[in-house]
Amino acid sequence: MTWDWEPSIILGCVALAAGYLYFAHGRTALQTCSFLGGIVVLLLDLVSPIDTLADTYLFSAHVLQHFVLALVVPPLWLLGIPGSAAERVLQRRRVDGIEQALSRPGVSWAAGVGTMLAWHIPALFSAAIANDGLHILQHLSFLVSGAIFWWPVLAPVEPRRLAPLAAVVYLFGACTACSLLGAALTFTRPGWYPAYLNPTGDAGTLRLIRTGWGLDARTDQQFGGLLMWVPGCLVYLSAILARVAAWYRAPEPA
Amino acid sequence: MKTRAPLGMLLFLLNEAVFFFMLIGAFVYFRGSALATAARSLNLAGASIYTVCLLASSITMWRGVAAGSRGWLGATLALGAIFLYGQGREYWALFRQNVTIGGDQFGTTFFTLTGIHALHVLTGLLLLLVLLSGAGRRSALDSIALYWYFVDAVWIVIFAVVYLWTFV
């Protein structure tokens, strides 16, 4: 189990961090931590042994990887953008136009949920494992669609965010969708993604996974489904609770 | 005060959605052991025709609500009745092939799921009848229409899961 120090990934992360530090004026310490933390998490997600396990050996590891790309990194990034910097960028008409189009709740929700569902179609998922270019596209699409999905919930600019009830329904709907997919993977027979039934790889790693960790093909698929279902929903639920708690804290006109 | 009827109906339909989801879940759960019987007993062509009738009834219902016309609502009633007739014919054909609710897992899950759905269609028709006869409140039309669209939407899912997924 090795670390895959892919130069393009490292360079990309460094560039992103540099860009943030240069352009994001008026940021608080917490925001800086959040954004840079997101980059660190992204880096780990893509270069650590998780990546090796995901590519070849374990469906559940791959689920974990996508989970981070769609549900952890984009929120950390959005939370790290200072409102003033975002406002300045949004003043440009083109940018504002794109934002208006993409942040329509129906559109952003469909982008996030749709991307997740589409990539789990067996043919597409298996193709992405086999083809490197497609795989990169897959990961990018999770990041981008994740950012689009989370924007109406976590936009740095308050007026662009959804109202509390709408946010609850929006997030609950996404939670239901990922629960359905996750539950389907948990309860049905293994073999959705044949590449993981009999992975061809290093014998030592295989022994560790199958015997050491006790993850046979069936348990692996089950675990992947469970990850999507339970921790996935916890992310949405935390967002719901944070939104509701903030709503209760806000003062009300008498 | 906002209009009361639609929210109440929407909430009731939410509960019905979960209910049908559980029944469909049972069908999917047993699909493996039911598939053989399903493939040889179901009549996709026939069911498709009656499905089209039911979907058309949603359109006539929509027109009926928009125009407030008894004609369109009557057409909805007729199309819904044709759907039930078609279901009845399918059931009869299945009984003749010895496929019953007490037979195998296909019979168990198919008849329960489609039977409960058919009862919902029947209820919808009765509601329409009451409305058309003048006994019902005009203001209930929006709720009844919502109920009708829901029942049709559930049928689309059932049709896909039971018929299309068996043959496609």
């Binding site: 609950f172 006790g214 | 005060m1 109440g8 909430l11 609710i101 168990t108």
Partner: protein, 535 residues
């Protein structure tokens, strides 16, 4: 028969609320008699007071009665009575649906009890596991009555949930925003959404069971290709949210009562409200913890074990908030407050025993033992029932116009607390010693007889406490001191109405500018909304 005709045809929410409460009280007595029969049979090993088959019917009916014919209806009754008053409305959104849902629950209960006269009551436990519930193993009609009765009850409950949500959404007095809702109303709202998602799972399972039993289908019948595990999944997908359905309104009652008798607003209103949402969402992700002893796979049950531990957190937040409300308050120990404070302790004990079960190896050791019985009685009786006693003493003056007697209240309280804890605390020990549940007798192992005898004795004391409660109600109705509108100097809108309220509830609804509208009316120099309303 003018009086009877009025009660049978009423659509007034207050009268329907009283109908719910009275019916629930009658079934409480019946369920209590069933409990006494159980305790009598178990007081010593080897008794034959009840034949085994009869015993099975009695404990099944005791559980089914207490859950479906007592707790759920009485919570609906308090909700139906209080919610319109608390939000300044004149009735529920759908008064006739309100009546319908009551009568559905009433006749569901009647149907259930007819089974005793129709070949025997259901006897497969309140959750009727397959394959025991199938025709092959339970040929008599008792389980058909159970399923049909529950279908009626479940439909009624769904109807009342719809009614609550529409009422709270559309009929609030001007100025009563969602963030200013009394917590009882907020909990009722969240609870109603829980009901909408949970009851249909039960209804589906019951339809499937009836198909199996009456139409020879094979949903749960393993011999013919069905799956008994499917019943367990479906039942508990309902069953776990159901336990929160039985406790959230009780949380709401406690959230109203403790602040008033501490003379302080509740601590952390926002936390209590948000944690309620958390409980509601999480409650759908823990059901498998009722099935840890079924071979479902370690990874699978581990995830649910983690979730089950997590769900204890939002409830803990609430206990903390209620306790913090007490701190620094000027406490008034009325009977209602005694029960409310006792609730905190008893429910916490029940919660702790519950969380113990989240640890899978502990569950493997203790499932289906008396430890479970102890756990759920602590949360359902020590929790919900204590909250109901508190609510009875607190709102009886509003409903009847008279105060309940405080002296009898003290007797009621101490008999119930001592009796309850004596009955059920020892059951933790019996469970740890290995005594299984649902057994009509047990062997004479060391300590078992003594503990069971203590438990039975406790049940007698508890029963006496319940009788004192009934006597208090009757005596207070006849002779109680007149209460006036606002005997407790409380703050929510129902106390602005007369006691009992006018048919239309209010002549004029007080202005609502904060969470405590009556405080604002009584303290125009220091109203809540002046202190930056909200939070």
């Amino acid at each position: 028969m003018k009086g009877l005709e009025r009660w049978v045809s009423t659509v007034d929410h207050k009268e329907i609320g009283v109908l719910y409460m009275l019916t629930a009280l009658v079934f409480f007595l019946i369920g209590g008699v069933e409990a006494m029969m159980i305790r009598a049979q178990l007081s010593l090993p080897g008794l034959n007071f009840l034949a085994p088959e009869t015993y099975n019917q009695v404990f099944t009916m005791h559980g089914t009665t207490m859950i479906f014919l007592v707790v759920m209806p009485v919570l609906a009754g308090f909700g139906v009575y209080l919610v319109p008053l608390m939000i300044g409305a004149s009735d529920m959104a759908y008064p006739r649906l309100n009546a319908l849902t009551f009568w559905l629950q009433f006749f569901g209960g009647v149907l259930l009890y007819i089974s005793f006269f129709a070949g025997g009551a259901p006897d497969a436990g309140w959750f009727s596991y397959a394959p025991l519930s199938e025709k092959a193993f339970s040929p008599h009609a008792g389980l058909d009555y159970w399923a049909l009765g529950l279908l009626l009850l479940g439909s009624g409950t769904v109807g009342s949930a719809v009614n609550f949500i529409v009422t709270i959404a559309n009929h609030r007095a001007p100025g009563m925003t969602i963030r200013r809702l009394p917590l009882f109303v907020w909990m009722t709202l969240v609870n109603s959404v829980l009901i909408l998602f949970a009851l249909p799972a039960l209804n589906a399972a019951l339809i499937m069971l009836l198909s199996d039993r009456l139409l020879h289908a094979h949903f749960f019948d393993a011999a013919q290709g069905g799956s008994p595990i499917l019943w367990q999944h479906y039942f508990w997908i309902f069953g776990h949210p159901e336990v929160y359905i039985m406790v959230l309104p009780a949380f709401g009652m406690i959230s109203e009562i403790i602040p008033v008798f501490s003379r302080k607003p509740i601590f952390g209103y926002g936390f209590v409200a948000s944690s309620t949402l958390a409980i509601a969402f999480l409650s759908y992700g823990v059901w498998v913890h009722h099935m840890f002893a079924v071979a479902l796979g370690r990874v699978f049950i581990s995830v649910f074990a983690a979730m089950s531990m997590l769900i204890a957190v939002p409830t803990g937040v609430k206990i903390f908030a209620w306790s913090a409300t007490l701190v620094g308050g000027s406490i008034r120990f009325t009977t209602a407050m005694l029960f409310a404070v006792a609730f905190l302790l008893e429910f916490t004990i029940g919660g702790l025993s519950g969380v113990a079960f989240a640890t899978v190896p502990i569950d493997w050791e203790l499932t289906d033992t008396y430890f479970v019985v102890a756990h759920f009685h602590y949360v359902l009786f020590g929790g919900t029932a204590f909250a109901l006693f508190a609510a009875a003493y607190y709102w009886f003056p509003k409903i009847s116009g008279r105060l309940m007697d405080e002296k009898m209240g003290r007797w009621n309280f101490w008999l119930v607390v001592i009796g309850f804890n004596m009955t059920f605390f020892v059951q933790h020990l019996l469970g740890l010693m290995g005594m299984p549940r649902r057994v009509y007798t047990y062997p004479n192992l060391p300590g078992w007889a003594a503990l069971n005898l203590v438990s039975t004795f406790g049940a007698v004391i508890l029963g006496l406490g319940a009788l004192v409660f009934i006597c208090n109600i009757l005596a207070s109705l006849a002779f109680g001191t007149r209460a006036g509108n606002d005997p407790w100097d409380a703050w929510t809108l129902e106390w602005a109405a007369k006691s009992p309220p006018l048919p239309e509830n209010f002549e004029t609804v007080p202005a609502v500018r904060s969470r405590r509208p009556l405080w604002d009316v009584k303290h125009p120099d220091a109203p809540d909304w002046a202190a930056e309303g909200g939070a």
